[in-house]
């Protein structure tokens, strides 16, 4: 039982990280019809950039961190929108989706060539000790991840629901045309979601890299799980992405412990197929109007 709870908490912790990536993915999808197939690489890269800044300029970690994060937000928040999405969206959703695949290759291979083909350790922001709670030993790191991730999501929810800027952003996500009529600066709101997406990716990266190390190929699994979380939870909902992320994290953690380490990846995939067959709009999603 104690073991089970420990796995459960580990699952919730990684699941919360997938949820961060899934929320960003959903936000960007809603406001600009961008299916970002580079989402996993978005989570992989900030840690790599930070380590690179530390290595190249011999900076202390905090300074390297600031530079890495700033560069990432600039290029993959604002730059991504202005250079990739804006000129491409007029060609339609499909070319844009393929463009993000090209971007994912560039990011991944770039991290491999420009940084390292090997996994590098990334410092944890909290002690990695175990604490004993009611006879169950729990990793302090996992607890910290849960706290930070949920704080970030809570902050986002407050921003979206409780501030004028956030409500404008939400209106843009729900219906850009109406938002434009209401006088909301739609372009700026879209840019804001891209920045938020990048910021969420940074948080996810800082949380996950101490556990899985910083490696160019990390994005594949993270991205896959983020997509699955978004679909399982319901494509149109921040809440859905959160529920989906936690579910995938827990399923993955329990599968690794009790089923097979080789096929742990398969369990979320099965979950995805089950959802598509049984409740395609996702657990929290609303049914969409049929068109064809």
């Amino acid at each position: 039982m104690a073991e089970f709870i420990a796995y459960l908490i580990a699952g919730i912790a990684t699941g919360a990280i997938y949820a961060l990536a899934a929320i960003g993915f959903t936000l960007v999808w809603q406001t600009s019809q961008t299916i970002n197939f580079a989402q996993g690489e978005f989570v992989m890269l900030p840690a790599v950039l930070i380590l690179l800044a530390v290595k190249l300029f011999g900076l202390p970690l905090w300074a390297g961190g600031l530079i890495g994060i700033a560069v990432f937000l600039l290029i993959f928040g604002a730059g991504f929108k202005l250079v990739v999405v804006d000129p491409m969206i007029k060609h339609g959703v499909l070319p844009l989706a393929i463009a993000t695949m090209a971007l994912s290759i560039i990011m991944k291979e770039g991290a491999k060539d420009g940084f390292s083909a090997e996994a590098q350790s990334f410092p944890s922001l909290v002690p990695t000790d175990m604490v004993n709670l009611l006879g169950i030993s729990i990793s302090l790191q996992h607890l910290a991840i849960i706290v930070v991730a949920f704080a970030a999501i809570g902050l986002l929810q407050w921003f979206v629901g409780g501030t004028k800027l956030g409500r404008q952003m939400q209106a843009t996500a729900q219906n850009p045309t109406v938002a434009r009529i209401l006088g909301i600066p739609v372009e700026r709101m879209v840019l804001l979601t891209f920045l938020l997406n990048a910021a969420l990716a940074v948080v996810a990266s800082l949380l996950i890299s101490p556990i899985y190390l910083a490696k160019f190929s990390n994005g594949e699994t993270i991205g896959l799980f983020a997509f699955i979380a978004a679909i399982v939870g319901g494509f149109n909902q921040v809440r859905g992405a959160l529920v989906g992320g936690i579910l995938i994290g827990v399923a993955d953690s329990l599968a690794a412990a009790y089923i097979s380490t080789q096929y742990r990846l398969a369990v979320p995939l099965v979950l995805l197929v089950a959802i598509i067959l049984v409740k395609p709009e996702g657990l929290m999603g609303r049914k969409e109007e049929r068109r064809v």
Partner: protein, 335 residues
């Protein structure tokens, strides 16, 4: 009716007919050139040429799915893997002839395509991308983990090349010529498919699915068929790939390879018959000949595709068409 209009009407049918024949002639001519091309090229050069054609078949299938039916499949490399492993296992472990294994690979991937596509397309079109993404990962897991069947990371070696009516095709040149013939047959089949009413329906559902449905076109069935046939081409490509390289392991069939194949479709020109050959040339042959470090070339290739998507989403074929139109207009003006 005015005279120019009449002239137009009289001139256009033969022009259309000529253009269609041009595609056919180009295919056959290309095959003849490729039949003789590797003479004096050496083993490696011949191998690269064959590899180009094999990859072109895989890209061709994906071009049907993406370029003609407007669907994203992220599992084309996985389908190639299914074909390659099915062929390798059947020929090395069960003594099945390559020809039977080739047919089985195509049927298997066609069936798997139907199975995957059916639930995905029931919902919304984007879902095919995610379902194939998941499938791609699943295939890779099975290839790597089921050692008893696939040899795991060690793969399967000593895959024999087929015979052709008693002629052994073990040499690079002989096998290359065999690949040329198979590629020609598959290209002709696709050329014919695209000209059939099915091809017309594929185009219609890419251009305007709502209108297509209102004209009785079962958009779901046609999308599913385009995807399944495209997947079968992946299986055929895999069935040729295995004896070409004579040793297979899971790495060329990973998800990232499926991404690359999609980029090749776009680079060559989605929806153009000859696009896949151009795409595979850029994506596979060029880095081999230029002896580029793998990942550096990938970055360059992806960046080129990204730029193409901004400037001309129709890829190199689209660029060529644009250039051709400009030239024609200029010469027309000078006349």
């Amino acid at each position: 009716m005015s005279a120019p209009a009449l002239q137009d009407a009289a001139a256009s049918p033969p022009r259309a007919a000529r253009r269609i024949d041009a595609a056919l002639v180009a295919l056959i001519l290309g095959a003849v050139i490729l039949w003789f091309a590797p003479v004096g090229m050496g083993r490696y050069g011949t191998y690269v040429l064959s590899l180009w054609l094999v990859m072109s078949i895989g890209v061709m299938g994906l071009n049907l799915t993406l370029g003609y039916a407007g669907q994203t499949s992220l599992a084309q490399a996985a389908f190639m893997g299914l074909g390659a492993y099915a062929t390798a296992i059947l020929t090395t472990k069960f003594g099945v002839s390559w020809y039977a294994a080739f047919g089985i690979s195509g049927l298997l991937t066609f069936a798997v395509g139907l199975l995957l596509g059916f639930p995905a397309l029931r919902v919304r079109t984007h879902y095919l991308a995610f379902v194939t993404l998941a499938f791609s990962t699943l295939v890779w897991l099975v290839l790597r983990n089921e050692q008893w069947l696939t040899g795991g990371t060690f793969g399967i070696s000593n895959i024999n090349r087929p015979e052709f009516f008693g002629i052994k095709l073990f040499g690079a040149l002989e096998f290359h010529r065999f690949v040329v013939v198979v590629t020609l047959i598959l290209s002709l089949a696709l050329w014919w498919l695209i000209r059939s009413p099915w091809g017309r329906a594929f185009t219609a559902l890419r251009e305007n699915p709502v209108r297509a449905a209102s004209l009785g076109i079962d958009t779901r069935a046609y999308t599913l068929l385009a995807f399944a046939i495209g997947s079968a081409y992946g299986g055929f490509a895999g069935a040729l790939y295995a004896p070409l390289v004579e040793f297979i392991d899971p790495s060329p069939f990973a998800l990232s390879q499926s991404f690359s194949l999609l980029l090749m479709v776009v680079a060559g020109g989605a929806g153009y018959l000859f696009g896949p050959f151009i795409g595979a040339l850029l994506g596979v042959v060029l880095p081999e000949w230029l002896r580029f470090a793998g990942s550096l070339y990938l970055i360059l290739f992806a960046a080129i595709v990204l730029a193409l998507l901004v400037v001309c989403p129709q890829g190199v074929s689209g660029l060529a068409e644009r250039g051709w139109n400009v030239l024609r207009r200029k010469s027309g003006g000078a006349r």
